[in-house]
């Protein structure tokens, strides 16, 4: 199951389970009595880009938050890069340091400068020397195109800039998987593009990505698969072209008609 040696490029998969970086089987979750996630089965290959969409309250956020244990599942299994998520705190720490997450509300640390936000985890979790962490941080800030903001505080930046800092902050941990929970929903229209551009560039570099978003342009451009969720279930799962042109289920059709016609 956990053969770390599979460095096979995308497409040439020798063994199905080898290249699965995330494997979710028969997973259920409840909030109290409320059954939020029902029998989720999802396999994600290395470098795969997955877009998750669905109506509000369908459990999209909860699903990706289960992958880095911000939420705990109660049944079934989640295996991330060969490590199963259990109560074991050690495993949780390993997985969290390999999985980056970007939030709708950015969640930057307002009391720290941009540079300190970005170097915090490398210094304290990865134990990098400060100089090295800062050098790496500047590389990533350049990659998201805001190196000149390094000494400012998050509150002094626009939403789009903050979200790009948040992406750089995650990337500095050299994650193998990136989770995005509606990264552009809190942004003004003119800032959405600058964040999507960074995400597209990241996708092209071969990062494994799970993105909850309603940006259908983004889905068409980069997704390998689009997953549609409703009421805690995965209803439909297809390459983007198929998904938009031949949706099978009525609920998918209804959802698509709603988001495409506003």
């Amino acid at each position: 199951m956990n053969q770390e040696t599979s460095v096979s490029p995308i497409g040439s998969r020798l063994n199905e389970s080898d290249s699965k970086i995330i494997s979710i089987k028969g997973m259920h979750k409840w909030f109290g009595d409320f059954h939020v996630l029902k029998d989720i089965n999802l396999e994600v290959a290395k470098s795969e880009r997955i877009v998750i969409c669905g109506p509000s309250g369908s459990g999209k956020s909860t699903l990706i938050r289960c992958i880095n244990r911000l939420e705990e599942h109660q049944q079934g299994s989640i295996i991330v890069d060969g490590t199963e998520l259990t109560q074991d705190l050690k495993n949780i720490e390993i997985i969290r340091s390999e999985v980056g997450m970007v939030f709708q509300q950015f969640n930057l640390f307002p009391h720290l400068s941009v540079l300190d936000n970005v170097t915090l985890a490398p210094i304290w979790v990865r134990k990098l020397p400060r100089a090295e962490a800062e050098e790496q941080a500047m590389q990533y800030l350049e990659r998201v195109k805001i190196p000149e903001q390094a000494s400012k505080y998050p509150g002094q930046l626009s939403g789009g800039q903050q979200q790009r800092v948040a992406i750089a902050r995650s990337l500095c941990m050299n994650p193998r998987i990136m989770l995005f929970d509606e990264p552009t929903s809190a942004l003004d229209p003119e800032m959405i593009k600058e964040v999507l551009d960074v995400m597209i560039e990241l996708a092209e570099s071969g990062m494994t990505m799970l993105v909850v978003t309603h940006e259908m342009g983004f889905a068409t451009a980069v997704a390998d698969r689009v997953i549609f969720m409703d009421e805690g279930e995965i209803i439909e799962e297809k390459p983007p072209k198929d998904f938009f042109e031949n949706p099978e289920h009525d609920r998918t059709k209804l959802f698509l008609s709603q988001i495409l016609h506003h």
Partner: protein, 377 residues
């Protein structure tokens, strides 16, 4: 005000940046707009001037110009005045100053008190100043200070031992207040974190502790310290009264600090915890680097409020017979030489507490401003 702005018009897109309009300034303008802007305002201003006129001159006379600064007792004070009680007899405070400061601390050893005080200032300045060279060592020194102070004041290990019953006056007040303040902060933070813990047992203990301590008057706790605690201790063991009082005062303040800090913790969005978790920071690292710096910043006014409260509450120890500055001062009032000089005493004591508390209050405002580095949270 009445003149219409005569700015020239500019073509769209060519408007230059102009300086802001000048406010009506000058002393006269200020007086007119703040003191004489309406009939009611004029009346209030006149009333205030009349009050100042009648109160200020006699006060100044009593406090300063008519006051006596050197005399051996109150009789001499009266004799030196135009009429008895015509001015303050500050000679009383001057004559008792050493007693008020050091209590009954043995005279040849008083340099130790002075050194403790100088180190106290050094620890405060070194521990609180942001950009001081060798910050790390200053912090270690500040953390070690209470133990250094205890050694200097009480002796042992090469110094002449001094019993805790020799402490009195301002020295005792500062010992009680500073101990309470400096130990209640870490303890209060720990209690606040415990109260929000996921472990039910830990949470329960913290809740019960906080609610119990907050629900009992400090005076009661001090009586417990002075009498009841001996029942709980193994027979024959003696546990210093001052030590018991210090523990009670610290516990009392920490319960309040805990609630203030808990409020600060609740002021943070859950996104801050989630972002720290998602980056792989452990519970302790997340709290130390992300959560507490923000929560404590929000809590500064409440924390300082609690500190000021415990500083003033330290005077309650006089109830169980300890001679802090207030207790000692009152005892001194019964001295036949200085009988009846209560106003002088209470003015002096008020001034001492006011200056100390006002300094704390100013410092906290200053700190809040400094931490407000142009970022909203």
């Amino acid at each position: 005000m009445s003149e219409t702005p005569t700015n020239p018009r500019y073509a769209p897109g060519t408007h230059p940046d102009l300086p802001p309009p000048r406010r009506t300034t000058g002393a006269l303008g200020w007086v007119r707009s703040n003191l004489l802007s309406s009939p009611l305002n004029v009346a209030l201003t006149l009333l205030s001037v009349w009050l100042l006129w009648t109160i200020l001159p006699p006060s100044i006379h009593w406090l300063f110009t008519g006051a006596i600064w050197t005399a051996v007792d109150r009789k001499e004070c009266w004799a030196l005045m135009d009429a008895p009680r015509d001015g303050a007899c500050w000679a009383f405070i001057r004559g008792s100053f050493e007693l008020f400061v050091y209590g009954w601390y043995p005279e040849p050893e008083r340099w130790r008190v002075n050194l403790t005080f100088i180190l106290f200032i050094a620890a405060i300045v070194g521990g609180l100043r942001e950009n001081i060279p060798g910050k790390k060592y200053w912090l270690i020194f500040a953390a070690a200070y209470p133990f250094i102070a205890a050694w200097l004041l009480l002796g042992g290990f090469g110094l002449e031992p001094v019993g805790t019953n020799k402490l009195g006056g301002i020295l005792l007040t500062l010992v009680v207040a500073v101990t309470g303040i400096s130990f209640s902060l870490p303890l209060g933070i720990a209690l606040a974190l415990g109260r929000r813990s996921n472990l039910p047992a830990l949470r329960g203990v913290c809740v019960i502790f906080i609610e119990f301590i907050r629900g009992v008057p400090l005076i009661t706790l001090l009586f417990v310290a002075s009498t009841m605690l001996t029942y709980f201790l193994p027979p024959g063991s003696t546990f210093d009264l001052l030590m018991r009082v210090l523990i009670m005062v610290t516990l009392f303040a920490s319960a309040y600090i805990a609630e203030v800090v808990r409020g600060g913790l609740q002021g943070l969005s859950s996104g801050q915890y989630e972002a720290a978790d998602a980056l792989g920071l452990s519970y302790w690292k997340a709290h130390r680097l992300v959560i507490l710096p923000q929560a404590l910043k929000i809590s500064i006014p409440g924390i300082v409020n609690t500190f000021i409260g415990s500083f003033k509450d330290s005077t309650l120890v006089l109830i169980i017979g300890m001679m802090d500055i207030l207790g000692l001062g009152r005892a001194r009032l019964n001295d036949p030489e200085w009988l009846g000089l209560a106003p002088e005493l209470y003015i002096f004591i008020s001034l001492f507490f006011f200056i100390s508390c006002f300094a704390m209050s100013r410092y906290s405002l200053n700190l809040e401003k400094k931490l407000q580095t142009g970022h909203k949270s």
